[in-house]
Structures are given as structure tokens and as C-alpha cells.
């Protein structure tokens, strides 16, 4: 045998064959296409995550760097409005009105100082009860600070902020609606909240039990479907997703994001196979009557030993989707509410690897790149969620519920005559953050 093998090897190992001229061109085209793929993916990811993040970050920054001139203008307007309101005007005497006007116009704080405590309170000034009260802008114990009211730039407000350890008992004027923006104690911007007051981001995880459905339109493969159904069974699967959503005042909400889901299928197949070969050599020697050898014949035969070959493994389907949902938010009590939603998920990428049976019902391993068995094209799946939610802080909500999803007949391909689809039902838990 050695001799035979060696001769074949010597003949063929270094052999060369002519290559058609167009092969390189095809390779080069393919290389160009592969080069562009990462760029497309990066652009898609930027579109999905970058734009909302950019939008949020712009307003987030706006909250940190307050537009002083605008707020000053708003503040003056606000104060004037309050002063000119019917109730306020009716309750103030002429000297009080003069004093407040003087304060607002900031020509002098002496008019304020000359008022009684009662009159000051009637004008909207508050008495400081603790040094930690940061809601005050102006107080009448320091004339120079009262004069700051007249300045167009709120750069002086930082001075006020630094000097906030005021003595209890002093009078201050409060702008509760603007305090956070002015002092930057929160990072949100009034404009942002005004435009998107109910925008939220969400993240959730789910664990599910998928059920696999195998079908074929080819009658010759119906037996294969039966064998495969016995070989493949479901294992716990999981998913994670994140994105942005918006709650409308009428209870409806919409949300979209990006999701990663992994479906696991257990593969176990037993089949008869050759497990051993026994080589037997039979030598027949023919003697004549005198004991001389007439002929020697030698037969070599191989006897196959048949046994059971077992193949086991886990088939995985890893999917990246863009879920888009619409739902309804129904309050159950003060603490809890129900969130129900339905939607579709655009499957942008599915990668599968594991074991399957070929047309002869023999097992073989396939890898993630074998698109002949499982398609990786874009497809749709359908999903529904029902969750109970509770609010744990001013803008954080926790939820838990059930999730259903149907993946459609996505997982078939030219070399795989069996349509494969999944329906999963599982539990989900997540968090929502009101931006």
C-alpha cells in the first residue's frame, strides 16, 4: 500500500494546472465588495444609534451650558407677568408696586428694603428658612446682590450660587420653574423636555423556549423532515435589546431599537455507520499428490463492522434585528401599569452554525459562513409583549412580562430543502429611563 500511495503522491503533490484567465477578475471583484461591507455596517449602526444619541447629547449639553441671555429674558418676562397679573396687582398698594417695579427694573434696591416683611412676602419674596435653600436668586440683605438683578448677563449668578450660604431669615425671590436651569443642578434642558417630554430609552433581556417548525414543499423530503424533527429539539434561548421610545399622552407608545437574539437547538442523531474494518487474508495453497506446490492464491478482504454513530451538538441561530413596536400603556394602580405592544423586527443578519442532516439523512457540521444552508438575507419576524411596570424613581421604570415571537420561514436556502421557522415564548425583564 505504501508503494502505491507514495507513487500517487509523488506524481500529484507538486502538480500544476492551468487556470482560466477570468478567475482573478472574479476574485478581485469579490475582494472589493468585502472591503465595502464594514463601511455599510458602520453606517447602519451610526444611523441606528448615533442619531438618537447625538440628538440627546446636544440637549444634554444645552442643559449644562445654560443660555444665560435667554433665561434672563425669560426671567424678566416671568417676573413682569407675575407683577402685572390681575391678582397680584389688585393686592398691592401703590408704594408696593413702586418698590417691586424698582426691584424689577433694578434701579435701586432701597425701595425693596424699605418694605415691611409682610409686604415683601406679598410681593413674592420668601424668607430663607435654612442655609441649604438653593432656590433663591435675590435677597435684600445685600444691596449689591439685589442690584445684580439689573445685569443682563447671568454670569453674576455664579457669584450668587457661591454665596448661597445665606443667613436664615433673609428674604429671597424665588423662580422655582427656572432654578434648576439657572443653577445647573440638573442636566436636563427645559427646551428638551418641552419638545420631547415623554421620550425614553429602554433596555431589556429575555429568556425563552423556542419551538421549531420544519416543513417542506418537496414530497421527497417529507421523510427527512420527520427524521430531522426527531434529531432537533429546543434549548433555552435568550435575547437582549435596547433603543428609544416615546409615550404619547393618550396612552399609546412607540419604540424602536436594536436587538440581539440567540436561538439554541439541541442536535442528537444516531445512525448506523462503519465503526471498524477487519482485514482477512486467505491463502490457498494447492499441492499435488507428491506434496509439491502447484499454486498459491491470496485473497485479501475487508469486512466492515457496523455500529451506531452518535452525533450531538448545539445548533445556534444568532440574529441581529431592528424591532419596531407600537403599544398601549394602561395604568393598573398608582404604582403599577400594564404595557402591551406588538410589532415587527427587521432581521438584518442571521448567523447559524451546528449540525444538520443532508438529503441522505447523514449528519454533517455546517459553519456560520455556509449560506447555502441558511439564508442571511433581510427578513421579518413578528413579536408581542405584555409587561407589568412600576416606577422606582422620577424617571426610572422597571418592567417584567412575557414575550412572544414568530420568526417566519426565514431559515431555508438553496441546498436545504426544509423550511425552518421558530416561535418562541418567554419571560422578559427590562428598564426604561425617561430622558
Amino acid at each position: 500500500m505504501k508503494n502505491f500511495d507514495e507513487k500517487i503522491r509523488d506524481k500529484l503533490f507538486g502538480a500544476e494546472m492551468p487556470v482560466a484567465s477570468g478567475v482573478w477578475d472574479s476574485i478581485e471583484k469579490n475582494l472589493d465588495r468585502k472591503d465595502k461591507r464594514p463601511v455599510i455596517w458602520i453606517m447602519m449602526l451610526m444611523l441606528l444609534t448615533g442619531l438618537p444619541a447625538l440628538y440627546f447629547s446636544v440637549y444634554h449639553e444645552a442643559g449644562r451650558h445654560v443660555d444665560h441671555s435667554r433665561i434672563m429674558s425669560d426671567m424678566n418676562q416671568n417676573t413682569s407677568d407675575a407683577f402685572n397679573s390681575k391678582n397680584m396687582s389688585a393686592s398691592l398698594s401703590a408704594p408696593e408696586q413702586t418698590a417691586k417695579l424698582a426691584l424689577i427694573e433694578s434701579k435701586s434696591s432701597k425701595a425693596v428694603k424699605s418694605l415691611s416683611r409682610k409686604d415683601k412676602q406679598a410681593l413674592g419674596f420668601q424668607i430663607v428658612s435654612a442655609a441649604s435653600n438653593r432656590s433663591s436668586l435675590f435677597y435684600d440683605t445685600e444691596e449689591s446682590l439685589a442690584d445684580d438683578f439689573s445685569r443682563s448677563s447671568l454670569s453674576q449668578l455664579s457669584v450668587l450660587d457661591d454665596d448661597i450660604n445665606r443667613i436664615p431669615g433673609e428674604y429671597v425671590y424665588s423662580f422655582p420653574d427656572r432654578e434648576d436651569a439657572l443653577f445647573g443642578t440638573k442636566t436636563e434642558c427645559p427646551r428638551f423636555r418641552e419638545q420631547w417630554p415623554l421620550l425614553y430609552s429602554f433596555t431589556d433581556v429575555s429568556i425563552s423556549h423556542p419551538s421549531q417548525s420544519l416543513r417542506t414543499q418537496n414530497s421527497e423530503s417529507s421523510e427527512l423532515v420527520g427524521i430531522r424533527s426527531q434529531s432537533e429539539s429546543s434549548l433555552p434561548s435568550f435575547g437582549v435589546r435596547t433603543g428609544f421610545g416615546y409615550d404619547f399622552y393618550n396612552g399609546l407608545f412607540v419604540q424602536a431599537g436594536i436587538a440581539y437574539n440567540q436561538i439554541n437547538i439541541k442536535f442528537l442523531h444516531r445512525q448506523e455507520d462503519i465503526i471498524n474494518n477487519k482485514t482477512s487474508i486467505v491463502i490457498d495453497t494447492l499441492f499435488n499428490s507428491e506434496g509439491e506446490i502447484l499454486s498459491i492464491t491470496r485473497d485479501t478482504s475487508v469486512v466492515q463492522e457496523i455500529g451506531i454513530k452518535e452525533t450531538r451538538g448545539t445548533n445556534t441561530f444568532r440574529m441581529i434585528d431592528i424591532p419596531v413596536e407600537i403599544g398601549y400603556h394602561y395604568p393598573l394602580s398608582n404604582k403599577f401599569s400594564l404595557r402591551a405592544s406588538v410589532g415587527i423586527a427587521l432581521n438584518v443578519r442571521t448567523v447559524s452554525s451546528g449540525y444538520m442532516l443532508d438529503a441522505n439523512a447523514e449528519s454533517f457540521r455546517y459553519d456560520a459562513g455556509d449560506s447555502a444552508y441558511f439564508k442571511t438575507r433581510t427578513g421579518l419576524s413578528y413579536l408581542a409583549n405584555l409587561a407589568v411596570e412600576t416606577q422606582v424613581s422620577s424617571n426610572i421604570y422597571l418592567n417584567a412580562g412575557i414575550r412572544w415571537r414568530h420568526y417566519g420561514t426565514e431559515f431555508n436556502a438553496s441546498e436545504n430543502p426544509v423550511d425552518q421557522s421558530f416561535t418562541s415564548l418567554g419571560l422578559s425583564a427590562g428598564i426604561r429611563y425617561r430622558l
Binding site: A15, V19, I27, L31, F364, E415
Partner: protein, 186 residues
């Protein structure tokens, strides 16, 4: 020795240029090795078209995975490995429904042919190509590429014993074909 007597430094330079995306260097590398790789693919394929497809897929994989070549050992040996993996995957994708049916009737008797020297490379290649899929894979990997039965078993997802039996059958069938060819030639 590598084609065109390239020394290792030149090979490394070529690899480095390919990794930088230099298409001319990629083409040069392709031209240096495509003949040998085509012969390799031809042994795993059923016909020239299939061999060409394997060659194309194999070189795309080589260029995409070139950064995995450590530089130690022969570039050609590494390329052969990649090309073999590609060829095996390609064959797995295009499994013949009746790949074993005709083989079971082949008598498994050993002979000692000494006719290989009388045949050309092309004739032997053609005969190997006519072997059924399973036998051809095992025969190529064991006899020509020097894989062990364990390596073949891992590579093809079969048992070692299966690999051994396929090899015995492949040898037997190939010898029969060689004998027939000689008989026909007169």
C-alpha cells in the same frame, strides 16, 4: 521550494503588501500559486468548473485571512490548508444524494498495480476525480496531503474508522480504474 524560487523574505514582503491592500501584490501572489492550488482543487472537485469555483472561494478566503498567517512555516503549506478547508466545505455544500450507493458493490480486493508510472498526471487526476465524494476526500487528504486519520475524522466530522474504511475502498476502486485504463489502452 516555492514557485519561481521565491525566498521567504520575498514571500513575507508580498504578504505584507497584500495586507496593506495592494492589489497588484495580491495578483502576483495569485499568479504564483494558482497553478498548484488549481491542481489541488481539481483533485477535490468533480470537474474543472467546480475546481475553478473552489479555487476562487479559496483565494478569497486566503486574502481575507492573510493576517492569520504567522509567517512561520511555508506560506504555500498554509495556503494549501486554507484551500483544502475551502474545498471540503464546498463539497459538503454540494453533497451528492447517491454518493455511497454505487460504491457498496465494489469488491474490496487488494491488488498490486505497478502502472502508475505509465500514466500521466492528468490521467491520474481524472481518475481520482471520478471517485465518489467521500472516498475522494479521504484519499486526497490521507495519501496526497499527508493528513492522519484523526485529522481527517475531525475535518470531515466522521469517525476515524470511517476514514480508514473509506480509504481502503478508495484505493481499491482507484486500482480497478487504473487497471481498466491500462486494459483499454491495450
Amino acid at each position: 521550494m516555492s514557485p519561481l524560487s521565491l525566498n521567504r523574505h520575498t514571500e513575507r514582503e508580498l504578504v505584507a503588501l497584500c495586507l496593506q491592500g495592494d492589489r497588484m501584490s495580491c495578483k502576483e501572489l495569485f499568479e504564483l500559486y494558482s497553478g498548484r492550488m488549481m491542481a489541488l482543487c481539481y483533485r477535490f472537485a468533480r470537474d474543472a468548473n467546480e475546481a475553478q469555483d473552489m479555487l476562487q472561494e479559496g483565494f478569497i478566503r486566503i486574502f481575507n485571512k492573510l493576517d492569520l498567517y504567522s509567517g512561520e512555516g511555508s506560506l504555500e503549506a498554509w495556503m494549501r490548508r486554507v484551500m483544502i478547508n475551502t474545498a471540503l466545505k464546498y463539497r459538503q455544500k454540494h453533497i451528492d444524494k447517491h454518493k455511497y450507493s454505487e460504491i457498496d458493490n465494489v469488491p474490496l480486493y487488494a491488488t498490486t498495480p505497478t502502472i502508475i508510472d505509465e500514466l500521466s498526471k492528468e490521467e491520474i487526476l481524472k481518475l481520482i476525480q471520478e471517485l465518489p465524494d467521500g472516498y475522494r476526500m479521504v484519499f486526497n487528504l490521507y495519501v496526497i496531503e499527508g493528513y492522519s486519520h484523526k485529522e481527517i475524522a475531525d475535518q470531515l466530522g466522521i469517525g476515524e474508522s470511517t476514514s480508514r474504511s473509506q480509504l481502503v475502498k478508495a484505493r481499491s476502486l482507484l486500482k480497478d480504474k487504473l487497471l481498466n485504463l491500462i486494459k483499454l489502452a491495450g
